[in-house]
């Protein structure tokens, strides 16, 4: 018998658990966190099981539905209004599978590290579960309509998480976050409708992909690409539409930041690759009249170099990490712009790597704030003696983020540069080599600001800081989990790359 609802379980479990958690813990406030933790834990284990099933698809493919290039395919009619037909369609391929696993891991880690939250717990945890469902839906939806709904649903819980549990300027930041990303997704929506028209009236992505590649007009598709890209690039985000990110991160509670950096940014990257690269025909990238790749490369390069410098002059740890996130997402843009299989692999791998590294860093800054009372790097000093475990993890994650070989970030950066060096330089020949060079040089600055941060915070003698103990178990346990993945991905990148490479090959065969 063929079992259909592999992915529906993944999507609906947190979605149903969200209101239930709220209702059940109305009287027993303490239940909320355990309910949410158990749900996310089950999701995590389940996503690993799905991964194993996925990798055995060549052998046992008939046990679960594969079709249209996707595994665990679910497709039923959902809304049919006249000629418009919307499917409830879910599916997984080499692009979305790693992101699903990442989602469950990051949510589990963030859920545990949220245990310090003491106000309005039921609401908090039910919003987090809703958020998980939204993020999950974005990654597995195969219908553009469903994709858009999930994309938008994510904004709401995140908005409230920042606005209720955030820092002093939380309202400003929450609104800024909401307006930015919401406005940007409107452009995306217009883009989606253009695709709908060009592709012969369907929202179902595999079908749309086929019809777009045969019928559509390249000029209009390039226009649609730019509209879509505005949505994605604001979400990543890239310079110059990035200023919501540092504010949102600084004000959000640290688990919120970790989800924001770990997953919400990845939705942008996922959208860019899924809609921009996979759905649109390759002529959008390779057509001589198209400057798409150059634009992306410039955005990526500017984001890497610009944020490296800006991060250097930050005083707040969280702001520094937020700027470094923007720089890392520049790797995604550049990887896509290189338009080589290495580049696409690098883009996906960077999302995964950054998805475990930056939550770790944000959670660490949370631990430091809770125990030392500040995140200001001009005040913090000599935590190495006071909080040895946190400091060790901080050195570890800091180096991971700076792209130290043997840790996750390096693999992505290396592959990205390998792709850039191998590529035809965005279709413009060797004269555009300087884009690569600037991106390469910015890595030195990245190492510089991380080392500076470590020197300020971890090294030296503590003065005037009242730190009594290291982090609590619920603060450190998620960090160990993330650290494990950082190390694992650094030495065994092929576990992920084997999956992503299948996807990359469908776009660029060589």
């Amino acid at each position: 018998m063929v079992f259909y609802w592999y992915l529906s379980i993944l999507l609906w479990l947190p979605l149903i658990a969200s209101p239930l958690t709220y209702m059940l813990s109305k009287n027993k406030v303490g239940w909320a966190k355990w309910s949410a933790t158990i749900i996310t834990f089950v999701e995590m284990i389940y996503s690993f099981v799905l991964w194993m099933l996925y990798t055995s698809k060549d052998r046992f493919g008939d046990k679960y539905v594969t079709g249209d290039g996707f595994v665990f395919l679910e497709k039923t009619d959902w809304i049919v209004v006249g000629k418009i037909k919307i499917y409830y369609a879910l599916g997984v391929d080499g692009l979305s599978l790693p992101l699903i696993a990442l989602t469950t891991v990051v949510f589990f880690a963030s859920m545990i590290s949220s245990f310090y939250i003491k106000e309005r717990e039921p609401l908090y945890y039910s919003l987090m579960l809703l958020l998980e469902a939204g993020v999950m839906g974005t990654f597995i939806a195969l219908d553009l309509f469903l994709f858009y709904i999930a994309w938008e649903v994510v904004l709401v819980p995140m908005f409230f998480i920042i606005a209720y549990w955030g820092g002093p300027r939380r309202k400003y930041s929450a609104f800024k976050f909401f307006i930015y990303t919401h406005l940007a997704s409107l452009f995306m929506l217009i883009g989606i409708f253009i695709l709908y028209n060009e592709g012969g009236g369907t929202f179902y992505m595999p079908q749309l992909k086929t019809s777009l590649s045969t019928y559509a007009d390249v000029g209009r598709l390039i226009f649609a690409f730019y509209l879509l890209a505005i949505g994605f690039i604001t979400k990543f985000p890239q310079v110059p539409v990035h200023t919501w990110l540092p504010d949102a991160h600084v004000e959000a509670p640290s688990p919120g930041s970790s989800v924001l950096a770990g997953l919400l940014l990845k939705m942008g990257g996922y959208g860019l690759i899924r809609l921009g690269v996979w759905l649109l025909p390759s002529s959008v990238f390779t057509d001589p009249s198209s400057h798409v790749r150059l634009v992306l490369a410039l955005l990526g390069m500017i984001s890497m170099a610009y944020t490296a410098f800006v991060a250097l002059s930050q005083k707040d740890m969280k702001r520094l990490i937020a700027y470094s996130s923007i720089g890392h997402m520049g790797v995604v843009s550049l990887g896509v712009a290189s338009y080589t299989s290495e580049g696409i692999n690098a883009a996906i791998f960077m999302m995964i790597a950054h998805g475990v590294i930056s939550p770790a860093l944000f959670l660490i800054s949370g631990v430091i704030q809770h125990n030392a009372g500040t995140r200001d790097m001009t005040v913090l000093k000599g935590l190495g003696n006071k909080m040895p475990i946190t400091s060790t993890l901080m050195v570890f994650s800091g180096f991971a983020s700076a792209g130290l070989p043997g840790l996750a970030g390096f693999v992505a950066e290396f592959l990205m540069f390998a792709g850039l060096f191998k590529s035809d330089m965005f279709g413009y020949g060797d004269t555009y080599f300087w884009i690569t060079v600037v991106a390469l040089l910015s890595i030195i600055v990245v190492a510089g600001y991380y080392l500076w941060m470590l020197q300020r915070v971890v090294f030296g003698q503590p003065e005037g800081l009242e730190v009594e103990h290291d982090g609590h178990w619920y603060e450190l346990m998620p960090l160990w989990l993330l650290a494990f993945f950082i190390l694992f991905l650094g030495w065994f990148p092929f576990v992920v790359l084997k999956v992503t490479d299948e996807f990359a090959r469908t776009i660029i065969p060589i």
Partner: protein
């Protein structure tokens, strides 16, 4: 062949296992509720017994496992060498897998694994031997330090990383461990992390290295661009298809990496600051790992510069790069040598001396003497490890780093004095000692090469030989022979030799230097043998008695001048320093590192911070405040009013909703009242619940 691969794997893995065991032991120790003991001071006077027997026992267990793992590594290395090195033909053995797991037929995957050839076996032998001796030394030297287990874990890791670098089979693998070597040195230089100077030195070391690393990365990725492979075994055959320009780019960029890692001009000042780390760290950093990694790498990728099948034929494209490299080596050798002459801290003298000696190796590589470079690497590794270990013992004995606060220690610490004297004699290149033969090989390579200006390079090298002899004489004389100043008499009187673990390694090393000195005598043909296994395609140079004789004379002259200045006529020094120009050059120019740090600061650091400040204000003031907050928000408020009439199109509902939010945001912006927000939140949540219920129904009843 399988046995050799297995031995090679043992060599690499054993130190890492040691690191893991040490970490587990430390974890068990501290998780049982033992508090951190030992000194947190980070001073060298770890001799006073403050620590409990319990902690000492823990130390012993930790160091035993640390040393054992290196011992296993060393034994397998020796077995491997015995199996592999003898004989005529040396087959290159490889055991590898694809690091990225790309499927076949598409992107070439980059291999990761083990490469056994004479070069890696030779280098591995040096690394394991010295690492073993330095580990034994550290067992006693680090006694009583609060971070004892941390030290051994990192130290084992360092050794393992360096060994893997040596045996790496592709540029990717080499680069990964190249950077990890940088990481371990960062952790070890900043070992006493609570000392600001140590934290600063660690950061500096890592950043200077990073500059080199990035150029190296660019270099081999350019190679990847042209050849589509990074495999050391596949690459040589593909080199000949490259144009001159392509080779020139790759060649120069790869030298960039060496300049950072092997501390060449102008990026060498970090190495002197790195003396903030514990002495065993300096010993291993300078002798066989880290700074030697650059030299080793060039030897490994010599096929980029010289045609693989005929080692005498330089690629036309690489000629320029080689010349530049040889010149940088010569300049570094001279500048660092001069600096060692005016430096007062014993470890810094040795540090500059390392820089200077690596300059020699760079000269050799630049002028085509791969064998000469590896030859000098061996002799330098041995005597420099010896010198650092004995220097540590001296510091341990007198609790100061400054040579002018020592004196007359010859009788007090004989077990340190004799090995150090042997080491210094070898460093000075006293005729007949190991340093003399290897330096001679380098100078000969420069003398006979075809590089433009090779004679000038040779003269610079000879001048450096003179300076080397001079400063070796200086520090040996000042530390061991000079009558100590009255105010320092007290601690000199108290000095005594260290214990078994502190002295034995240096005695062994001293014996090794003597053995090498004998072995290197041309009669025994060591250099020819080395030449044969490393580059069989190149005919060795015959010994040139002019070069050998003149360098012997130069060295003797240097020692003579040293004795004149410090022993027979010390007043000559005073009168020299009375000359203003001389005084300025020595104290203001050379002792301040030729102002290289300031220049680099003005070139790199200051502009970077300036740009950072400007971009930061662009971010906050222009993008955020002006464009977004003022233009866009206010503009959309206006637009919203106009569009009220207009938006009846396709995306009506959603667009409308957003303008609503915009309007709302605009108002909120002006007032920011709490009550409104929670109302809004309630409405939003209610809508959402309704929406979700709707979706549920749709799905359930379809």
């Amino acid at each position: 062949m399988a046995s050799e691969i297995l031995l090679g794997k043992t060599v690499l893995i054993s130190p890492f296992i040691g690191a893991v065991i040490v970490s587990i032991l430390a974890f068990l120790h501290y998780s049982r509720g033992n508090k951190h003991e030992g000194h947190d001071s980070g001073k060298h006077d770890t001799h006073e017994e403050h620590t409990s027997i319990h902690y000492t026992r823990f130390e012993n267990v930790v160091s035993t496992f640390g040393i054992l793992s290196i011992l296993v590594s060393w034994l397998s290395m020796v077995l491997l060498a015995i199996n592999y090195l003898p004989g005529e033909e040396h087959e290159t053995l490889q055991s590898q897998f694809g690091f990225f797991g790309f499927k076949e037929g598409g992107t070439p995957d980059i291999p990761f694994g083990l490469l056994i050839d004479p070069l890696s076996v030779y280098m591995g032998l040096i690394v394991t031997t010295l690492a073993l001796l330095i580990h034994i030394y550290a067992r006693e030297y680090m006694h009583g330090d609060a971070g004892y287990s941390r030290f051994f874990a990192t130290f084992n890791f360092f050794t393992g990383v360096m060994l893997t670098l040596v045996f790496s089979t592709s540029f990717l693998e080499l680069f990964i461990f190249w950077e990890l070597v940088g990481l371990s040195s960062y952790l070890l230089i900043g070992f006493w992390f609570y000392k600001p100077a140590a934290a600063h030195a660690a950061k500096k070391a890592f950043l200077y290295n990073k500059i080199g690393d990035i150029t190296l990365l660019a270099g081999f990725l350019m190679l990847y661009r042209y050849t589509r492979t990074l495999d050391f075994v596949e690459l040589p055959a593909k080199m000949e298809a490259l144009t001159d320009q392509q080779i020139a780019i790759v060649a120069v960029l790869i030298f960039g990496g060496v300049i950072g890692k092997s501390a060449q001009f102008p990026l060498y000042t970090w190495l002197a600051d790195a003396m903030e780390g514990p002495t065993p760290v300096s010993a291993i950093l300078h002798s066989s790992t880290m700074v030697k990694a650059g030299i080793y790498m060039v030897a490994r990728v010599f096929f980029i510069y010289y045609e693989a099948h005929d080692g005498h034929n330089v690629f036309a494209g690489a000629e320029w790069a080689l010349t530049v490299f040889a010149w940088i080596g010569a300049i570094t050798a001279l500048l660092a040598g001069l600096q060692a002459l005016v430096e007062n801290e014993i470890k810094r003298i040795l540090a500059y001396s390392t820089v200077s000696q690596i300059g020699y190796m760079a000269i050799a590589l630049g002028t085509g003497g791969k064998t000469a470079a590896m030859f000098h690497l061996l002799s330098h590794a041995t005597f420099k490890a010896l010198l650092f270990l004995t220097a540590g013992a001296v510091i341990h004995a007198v609790h100061t780093n400054n040579i002018w606060e020592m004196g007359g220690l010859r009788k007090k610490i004989p077990k340190t004095f004799w090995p150090m004297l042997i080491g210094a004699t070898a460093l000075a290149g006293f005729p007949g000692f190991s340093g003399f033969w290897s330096k001679d090989a380098v100078l000969l390579a420069a003398y006979e090469s075809k590089v433009p200006g090779h004679l000038v390079i040779y003269y610079l090298g000879a001048l450096t030989a003179f300076i080397t002899a001079l400063y070796s004489t200086r520090f040996i004389y000042v530390v061991f022979f000079r009558t100590p100043d009255p105010e320092h008499k007290e601690h000199v009187e108290k000095a005594h030799d260290g214990g078994f673990f502190l002295t034995t390694p240096s005695i062994i090393l001293g014996v090794l230097v003597l053995i090498e000195s004998i072995l290197f005598i041309p009669v025994f043909n060591f250099e020819h043998w080395l030449n044969e296994i490393l580059e069989p395609e190149v005919k060795p140079e015959a010994i040139n008695y002019v070069v050998a004789g003149s360098s012997a004379i130069i060295v003797l002259l240097g020692i003579f001048v040293g004795l004149v200045l410090y022993h027979w006529k010390p007043e000559l020094r005073t009168s020299l320093y009375n000359i203003d120009a001389f005084n300025w050059i020595a104290n203001e120019f050379i002792a301040k590192r030729y102002r290289i740090d300031q220049v680099l600061y003005w070139i790199a650091n200051a502009p970077v911070m300036w740009v950072a400040g400007i971009l930061q204000s662009i971010d906050l003031k222009i993008i955020d405040r002006t464009i977004i907050d003022t233009w866009i928000v206010k503009g959309s408020l206006q637009l919203a009013k106009i569009s009220d009439v207009f938006d009846q199109g396709f995306i009506d509902g959603i667009v409308n909703g957003v303008w609503q939010i915009f309007l709302y945001f605009g108002r909120q912006f002006r007032k920011l009242q709490t009550g409104l927000v929670s109302n809004y939140a309630t409405i939003f949540a209610a809508t959402l619940v309704l929406f979700l219920t709707y979706v549920n129904f749709l799905v359930l009843f379809k």
